[in-house]
Amino acid sequence: MDGHILLKMEGIAKEYPGSLVLDNVNFELKRGEVHVLCGENGAGKSTLMRILAGLIQPTKGSIYIDGEKAVFSTPKEAEAKGVAIIHQELSLCPTISVAENIFLGKEKTKHRFFLDKKAMHKECEALFEKIKCYIDPSDNLAMLTTADQQLVQIAKALSLNTKILVMDEPFSSLSDDEAAVLFDIMDSLRSHGVGIIYIDHRIDNFYKIGDRVTVLRDGKYVGVKEIAATGKDEIIKMMVGRELNDIYPKYNKVQDEIMFSVKNMESDYVKDITFDVKKGEIFGLGGLVGAGRTEILRAIFGIDAKSGTIEINGLCVEIGKPWDAIKERIVYIPEDRKRQGLFLGRSVRFNSSIIFIDKLAKYFHINRKKERASVNKEVESLKIKVASIGDLVSNLSGGNQQKVVLSKWLMMENINLLILDEPTRGIDIGAKYEIYKLINDLACCGIAVILVTSDLPELLNLTDRVAVVRNGMISGRLNRDELSQESVMALCV
């Protein structure tokens, strides 16, 4: 690091109709520096990086590269100034070779029309040499491990003469050994004078590679620190130190009997999962995105194959497939409502009644009058805003769509266990509040509730107990009186 400032972002703001996503954010990157950008989910990290990459335009603020003011109206312009982003999800094409991926869109040719494979392979090898890894450029990308695919992305970025490299959670899908290789590569890039902006949730990693850290919270700039001189606690405090207000109703009563328990459950993604939920209890699963929370729910519900025992009301039950779970009166509100929860091309009526449909039929014939009546009742009690239940769900707002997903399950009687995976993601505050109340109401009826949410305040305020998941295992348990942002965060990272 020689103190030369590669990048300066000043007073960046981004406003979408009705919400200020970034508010007066500053960021600075020196040559040969690894600068960590951190904050909770939704703090604005990705938005800031999207602005840097020219994918979106800031409402206010300016960007300087090497001291010169720069305006990126397209990703190409950012690329030309030496900015490259390695995304969370791989942005490579799996069906073609490594070399073809690296030279995608700028292939080398001979005689104008023919690919010059030799030249491309040679250049690839030189790039891999630079980051000291050994990948055959003619391999199909799909044959490589996730870690090697990451390296190909880095090589691709280097082929563009990148000065500023953004790495968005590069370690999230890597094992420790693979991560160590990546740290080495980051270190060598640093010594070559590349500035690296690095986004991660795991604070321990910051100390392994980072020089400075900039913290964002709720779209606002909190501060910048030298990592070596800053304690982990201090960084956590900067990340989560927000005031909580009273949008979280809580009036459920935990009963003594255990409604649901899972012992030593193991699937391809999680292992050694043991916990129980009492009647009327709201049990939270905390952890970072990708830690394995959803995978635990999928295994319980019979989407993923698993081993281990599940008991409901003290009785051992077999749940091999979702319909077994439904038979045990387990309800699962999945995380991706559009992909997993809704039939978007169909009406509210169709969506709401699909699970209940056998009960509405007699001699194979659906009693439409009865169907309409029960759906209407549900729509009314959940306050779903529709002109009629014949409306297509694709025309509803996110909050109303989520309520439709809820409605299809709530027609079930005597629910034992309600599993909610990110029930309030992407919906407005009013609908959130109604869903919080609904969760409480259901718990008051004696239903056991498992809640997975990435919204930390939601987790802290709604749940009675929390188990934190890390790397597919439970890393710790917290009772309500032990719950705090710091205590949960400490178990996450």
């Binding site: 989407i303 779970a325 169709f350 699909i354 509405l360």
Partner: protein
Amino acid sequence: MADQSSVRNVKKFLQRNPQVATLIGFVGIIIVFATLSPNFLTANNISNIINQSASISIVAFGMTMVLLTGGIDLSIGGILGLVCVVAAKLFSFGVPLPIIILTGLAIGAFVGFVNGLIITQFNIQPFLVTMGMVSITRGLAQYTTNGQSIFIKADFFRLAISQGRLFGIPVLLYWVALFLVVIYFLVSHTPFGRRIQAVGGNSEAALFSGIKVNRVKIIVYTMSGLIAATAGFVTLSRLSSGLPTVGAGIEMDAIASAVLGGTGFNGEGGNILGTVLGALVIGTITNGLTVLGVDSYLQNVVKGVIIILTVVASVSLAKKSER
């Protein structure tokens, strides 16, 4: 303003009921043919049109169900041909009629079941599996008859399936009506019909809703095979001979009928009455072009153009409704 909103309402109505556009097109086609040929709207020709549409509509019902699951069944023509020649062969051996019928239906159901099994267990694109099945069934049909056609003498069979009349109405129409009622009821009024629509609408959400997605698909492909076998008997009774090449291209007519009737390739629509309308349009076009003396090869060209135009229209309607 009032005009704009009423225009929007009309658009919305058309998006929800794409069959209405087909209905308007149908009337248009009839007017065109009627003006071009005085022989088109005669009682005799109208009965021809109905007969033609009836045979198409039976397989189109099966296709509508398959499309509703988000799949496609290209093998129905092959099944039809195979059942047709096997039945003809059995007739020539003097096998009793009930056994012939049962054997034919069993062949259709079995082929359909195998389609469904391969599609679900190996998770393969339905069009690939059923395309392979076309080759298998056609090959078997050719092999059975050594490529020849087999003439049958079975008056009762011929009369009972298609050639006879009851109360002055062709028997075939009763059969079509029976299929229409049963399948319409199944798709639109039973829990199983709802599950078919759910699987096609979003198979992942269907699984999350506890629907046995694979089982639903296997049942639907089996039914499609069964219906194709029925169509094989209809064809045999109309031609009085088992020809290994019959039914070639009928899957196109079936798909076109279903699509014209408002059923799409992503599990949307599914109105069986719409499919009847679609089959009428296809039958009318085929008949009208014949009446006008258009070359039979060129007829295929015209039919293809109409199908593509319909798909383009329905896709652009769907896109507009997304906005």
